[in-house]
């Protein structure tokens, strides 16, 4: 058997087939490439559409779920609102990703009810790029409200849930499961509107963090212009040139 590299035309057809499969409504915001080629191939439409509700299943602490979420939300950029009931969030990690003082808001609600209300308000606001919240149990009415709010505001909502919730009812557009791997993460799309199951992929931390040189010590961080950090501009910048996201990177571990 001779295996040849996939031709661009086949690739393009494959992507449009997936868009059809995802049954994206007419006029919906087209998906934004995450910039991680292997991940984009897992997603219907080759990326994440604005106004989606995502779920990330995480198996305990220090699993890399935040880094993964940051990589997903960075194209949506702009403003990030994090719900932090445990009061352990360390904002300098977010500063490094480009969410500076004027783009990051941390909210510490007292209970689920306050959190849901505030999250709905945040998701509905067009001034917000992404909202992160953690939920052990997500009641269906709450999940539905979050989903509708995200759609209304065109905001990316990320709900972190424990791994044991796999198979539980979900209103998310895409549900990921992350697992720590030496030097990276194993990412599985466990549920996807209009998608189909694919084997999990392993992504190195360098790919997630976009550090071209391998080691972040040597990486030169360029300031992201606010215009590029905005969803619409980011779509233009990344969506029109899918090839740009697939540049090969040196695989030297950050770790």
């Amino acid at each position: 058997m001779i295996s040849s590299p996939p031709s661009p035309l086949i690739e393009q057809l494959r992507q449009s087939m997936e868009s059809c499969r995802a049954r994206l409504p007419e006029g919906a915001t087209p998906p934004t490439a995450t910039g991680i080629a292997a991940l984009d191939r897992l997603l219907p439409g080759g990326g994440i559409a604005g106004g989606s509700l995502l779920e990330i299943l995480e198996p305990g602490p220090a699993c890399g779920s935040h880094t993964f979420a940051a990589a997903l939300c960075r194209p949506a950029g702009h403003r990030l609102i994090v719900f932090d009931r445990t009061d352990t969030l360390y904002p300098p990690a977010a500063f490094a990703w480009g969410w500076g003082a004027d783009r990051l808001l941390v909210i510490r609600p007292r209970d689920d009810m306050e959190e849901t209300w505030a999250a709905v308000q945040a998701l509905r606001s067009p001034a917000v790029g992404a909202v992160w919240l953690w939920r052990d149990r997500l009641a269906t009415p709450d999940a539905r409200r979050l989903r509708l709010a995200a759609e209304e505001g065109g905001t990316l909502g990320v709900v972190f849930r424990p791994e044991r919730d796999r198979g539980q009812p979900s209103w998310a557009d895409v549900q990921f499961s992350v697992a720590p791997q030496p030097g990276g993460l194993r990412i599985e799309v466990t549920r996807c509107r209009g998608g189909f199951s694919r084997p999990p992929i392993d992504v190195s931390l360098d790919d997630l963090m976009h550090t071209p040189g391998g080691d972040a010590d040597e990486a030169v961080r360029l300031p992201v212009s606010p215009a590029l950090a905005h969803p619409a501009a980011a779509r233009r910048a990344t969506g029109s040139a899918p090839g740009a996201a697939r540049r090969s990177r040196a695989r030297r571990s950050t770790w």
Binding site: L89, A94, V106, D217, A233
Partner: protein, 467 residues
């Protein structure tokens, strides 16, 4: 320097040095108060507000012609416009008595004059031989003639020079040539004379009391439903809005009281993130507040006041700046969140240039965080997403200096990769010295943690998770 009658009898005179005055009063130690012009003015304003019962125009300022710079005398007086008012009180003498009685009751000893012009009234009142002086219409000039020049509201230096020339009364001044005086002293003396005699216009400026923006509604049928109360509050906001708009003010603090049928009242406060006089956003904040209020019974009376205001500013915007177009949306969101969750529930982190991880950011109130600009130089992946405060003590097995395993929550975790040390030290000028060697470690399961060895004690700590 001023003093009570007792002090004046003891020989205290205005202008006397303080040490000399205290020496004179050695037998009875005086109580000394520093002169407080602002306090005096505020007291005068209160008196003016009180005296509005006698005349619609009460104030201490007057307006003359613009062409002449008129020095403003120290406000120690009030002008009343009595045009058409005296009849209501039974004539000018009765009105004067009423004013004197009212001032007496407040502890003031007024000197009062009723005259054709503000200038003449001021002159006769400040001359103050009697408690109240009433000048018949047309008799102004003959009453002014014998008065000393100081009664004409002239600057002290001009009075002194005129005194050297032998001119000390109004009568003597009137005998001088107008032209000559104007050439020598400028136009002010002529103006003051004309104002006193009624030949030049002088308008009173009424003191306007600081307006309270408040509104209250008494209900015939007590309202028990939140919707109804909400409706009334919105209507009250609509009534308050024009007054705020007219003064270019926006509300920053609303205070309300709902008096329930049983006699109990519920009070509430709404802090507004950005001053506004628009009804819709204020009504929404009130609605959010109302949702969380438990009524003690049907509401009989509603009261709403704007307790704090700020000027509603205009802001220049860039034509293509996405941020500024989203700014109102963002501010509205923060306003909603703070009003429901309370300000402490939200914070905006601001980078701080401090190497110690716990101090590398500060929590600014959400409404101010956007304006604070700090720069963070941390590279992606070098700081954990979760930080423990305080750090968790752990036991670490080392090979030479590198950690190879650690125990945390009774479990042993083998370290397969360790990056470090990253030495973090606090500046010596901080007093207590912090010296730590940080390692980014990855366990066999691929979990990543941030651990450090305290170089002062040698103990290891788990400080955070690279989530």
């Amino acid at each position: 320097m001023a003093g009570c009658p007792l002090a004046l009898r003891a020989g205290i005179r205005p202008g006397m040095p303080l040490t000399e005055a205290t020496a004179l009063l050695a037998r009875r130690p005086p109580s000394l108060h520093t002169h407080d012009p602002a306090g005096d003015l505020a007291a005068l304003a209160r008196l003016a507000e009180y005296c509005q019962q006698f005349s619609p125009f009460v104030g201490w300022q007057t307006l003359g012609p613009r062409s002449i710079a008129v020095p403003t005398p120290v406000p120690e007086h009030l002008f009343f416009d009595l045009t058409g008012v005296a009849g209501l009180f039974g004539g000018e003498p009765a009105l004067a008595r009423a004013i004197v009685t009212a001032c007496d009751s407040l502890g003031y000893a007024p000197r009062l004059a009723v005259a054709d012009t503000p200038g003449a009234a001021w002159a006769l009142a400040s001359d103050g031989r009697e408690v109240s002086t009433i000048v018949e219409p047309g008799a102004t000039e003959c009453r002014l003639r014998p008065l000393p020049l100081v009664r004409l509201r002239l600057p002290a230096d001009q009075i002194e020079v005129l005194g050297h020339l032998g001119v000390s009364t109004v009568e003597q001044l009137l005998e001088l040539s107008r032209m000559g005086v104007a050439e020598r002293f400028g136009p002010l003396i002529g103006l003051r004379l004309d104002q006193a005699m009624g030949e030049a216009e002088e308008h009173l400026v009424a003191h306007q009391s600081a307006t309270r923006f408040e509104s209250s509604v008494e209900l015939d049928y007590p309202a028990a439903s939140h919707e109804l109360i909400d409706h009334f509050l919105t209507r009250m906001l609509e009534q308050l809005a024009p007054a705020l708009r007219a003064r270019c003010l926006g509300a920053t603090l609303l205070r309300g009281r709902l008096s329930c049928d049983g006699g109990d009242a519920v009070t509430f406060e709404v802090h507004v993130f950005r001053a506004t006089h628009e009804t819709a956003p204020l009504a929404e904040l009130l609605r959010l507040k109302l949702e969380r209020i438990t009524l003690l019974g049907p509401v009989r009376r509603l009261y709403l006041a704007v307790d704090r205001t700020a000027p509603v500013g205009w802001r220049e915007r860039d034509l293509f700046d996405e941020d500024s177009r989203q700014e109102p949306e963002w501010e509205r969101l923060i306003g909603r969140l703070t009003s429901r969750l309370g300000s402490p529930a939200l914070y905006g982190p601001v980078p701080v240039a401090d190497p110690i991880p716990e101090r590398a950011y500060r929590r600014a109130p959400a409404e101010r965080a956007g304006r604070a600009r700090g720069v963070s130089t941390i590279a992606i992946g070098h700081r954990p997403w979760r930080l423990f405060s305080p750090p968790i003590p752990i036991v670490v097995t080392c090979h030479r200096t590198q950690p190879v395993a650690f125990e945390w929550e009774d479990q042993r975790h083998a370290v397969v990769r360790a990056r470090g040390p990253e030495r973090i030290e606090s500046g010596w000028w901080r007093g207590e010295s912090t010296r730590r060697d940080y390692y980014r470690v990855e366990t066999g399961a691929g979990r990543r943690h941030w651990i450090y060895r305290d170089l002062n004690t040698g103990h290891w700590h788990l400080h955070g998770h690279f989530e």
